[in-house]
Symmetry: C2
Subunit: 364 residues, 2 copies
């Protein structure tokens, strides 16, 4: 297939490798894998999970839940505080699927209780140390109040607790991830211990990509919920979640101008393709992506000292070596590993597998 | 119209005000306005320009040129180095419209010369001090060679020079913008002086939003080419291109959780809606947007000390005052001025005017 514009390439075998490793991890722990589908947003990739026995998923919006419900997924956790303004969508989804909503306030709960037309599961969001949303793990007045209210509501079934230790994204190396994980597990354990006698069968959902990729056990969790692991990216590699070889997506970008006088290559590929997510590379500093070597229809390892240094809306500036510059021609296509694959995939909206298959994602 | 999800609001009267001011500026200088349409990407907003006499536009990609050609625009400059991999699209577009392509290398020129099926105009990109792309303004060997080759080509008509002084985005205040502008004008003048006798009627295209918004004259330019000015945004306000009242877009975001214990409001609105573009607010530091006061269907000035402090993929964290927190309820909709309107609009793909009209933008 001829590439003419910035295109998200997907290496299916790397992707399946990442999936099978995570399935194995869940199986070893005898807990469920409820993958977060916000990273790939595609029916096709979703089916690769289903073929391997996955039956439950998480999404980051009700709209995304609707997208996957259309492809037959019928147990979906919207891992985002329930947006009561979308009550119509909540009602239409819950008519057909088992919809698990995140609840963390009485205001939200009262509204749902008054306006739901079908039964939904209510999960209480617990703050596992990230400090973004959720109730504190020792706020038993808060959780008690929510559970009581759910128990009185005919359409909301209290079904467990959910947390996201997003602070793991600031960790670098196994030791730091392990510290985050310990803190998150102990907070969740505190909640579970308080309710285990009364509610022995509730769901306890945890697990971001860094901890799920590197840790061996998950405390009281009944399911893990990583998302990014299906593709991984440069930030995950820096955190220590994956090796560079596990990164399953790259952006193919046409070369449109050469500046040998400053060893810069201008590519068609900017902020509207990669997003403006950036990370600090240990050698290059501010970096928006790493150029990798071509390998048949796919790619192999990064080219030494060749990286995406700057981006504007549509332009990217690749900093390179003399040697790389000499081999580069206008009309070439560079393959670049993204910094944050979730954001890049969300922008590009479709993928091309290294086997030549086109995969559509959720539209706008 | 009921807002249930992150939605780009457009204040048409502010937008038309920005447009008329820019038209006046071009008229005062007796030069053309060739607006860059990458900011709004919509047929409808494009028509507001057309109704006011604008006949020529710029886009940032061939795909975007195709999008606007479909709505009857027939003189389009693709203000991006010609991507030879899209030769088929170049040939189909140039069959129907006057297509102006940016050329800055012999490699590109030779390819086009061999593969074009219809006549296009060739503009040579000049580096006006930004250092991203283009030939240096004193590289007459380079420009001579390109012009000679165009003159020998049956399908490429040399038609002028184009530059983009993107370093104006680093300027803060009129004085710094003025310095950038002086440098850019003098570089372009150097080129023009060299060719004016032989090519008196060529096009000289310059002008980014900061300089076009604040400067009174444009040297040898025959047209100005700003884009962002139609919406403006917080970065432009900080640069000094506009007042806060001129910002014509805001993102409406549902409130999904409240954290009064730390004066934080969680909104449905994150990196996939705003982009990860960030700026340093003089008082708040790192800032992703400013919350504004509601005013009928639109908005008025920013609420003091209430701003978008952090974003992840779908979540935003608004930092606020006690007073604002007290009035805020789950299910409210906050209106937020974006940091970089081009990126935000590109992500949200449609707009809702404060008069209730839906406007579609270019799809993926």
């Amino acid at each position: 297939m001829k590439i003419t514009r910035p295109t998200l390439l997907l290496d299916k075998s790397r992707c399946i490798g990442n999936l099978e490793k995570m399935l194995q991890k869940a199986e070893n722990n005898k807990i469920g894998l409820r993958p977060h589908f916000k990273t790939h947003q595609s029916h096709e990739v979703g089916r690769w999970f289903r073929e391997r026995g996955v039956k439950k998923i998480a999404t980051s919006s009700l709209r995304m839940a609707e997208h996957f419900a259309k492809d037959g997924w019928d147990d979906i956790t919207v891992a985002f505080p329930a947006n009561i303004l979308e009550i119509d969508l909540i009602n239409s989804l819950s008519e057909n699927i088992k919809l698990n909503l995140l609840i963390q306030s009485l205001e939200c709960l009262n509204f749902l209780s008054d306006n739901l037309k079908n039964q939904v599961n209510g999960l209480i969001k617990i703050d596992l140390g990230y400090g973004r949303t959720g109730l504190l793990s020792d706020d038993f007045d808060g959780t008690d109040e929510l559970i009581k209210k759910m128990n009185r509501s005919s359409n909301i079934k209290f079904s467990g607790f959910l947390g996201h230790a997003g602070q793991s994204y600031d960790a670098r190396g196994i030791e730091q991830i392990s510290e985050v994980h310990k803190e998150a597990c102990s907070k969740m354990q505190q909640v579970f211990d308080h309710y285990r006698d009364e509610y022995p069968d509730i769901s306890i959902s945890m697990g971001d990509t860094p901890t799920c990729s590197t840790m061996d056990s998950f405390g009281c969790a009944t399911e893990i919920r990583p998302g990014n692991f299906i593709f991984y990216d440069l930030v995950q590699e820096q955190i220590g979640s994956c090796s560079i070889e596990q990164i399953a997506v790259a952006v193919a970008c046409p070369v449109v101008a050469l500046h040998p006088e400053r060893n810069e290559i201008i590519i068609y590929g900017g902020g509207v393709h990669f997003s403006k997510d950036v990370y600090n590379h240990t050698k290059f500093g501010k970096c928006y992506g790493l150029v990798v070597k071509d390998s048949d229809n796919g790619w192999s390892e990064p080219v030494e000292k060749v990286f995406l240094q700057k981006i504007s809306q549509e332009h990217g500036v690749v900093s390179c070596t003399d040697e790389f510059m000499e081999q580069c021609t206008i009309g070439d296509v560079l393959k670049i590993l993204p910094v944050h694959s979730c954001m890049t995939a969300d922008l590009l909206k479709r993928m091309l597998t290294t086997e030549g298959e086109k995969i559509e994602m959720m539209g706008n």
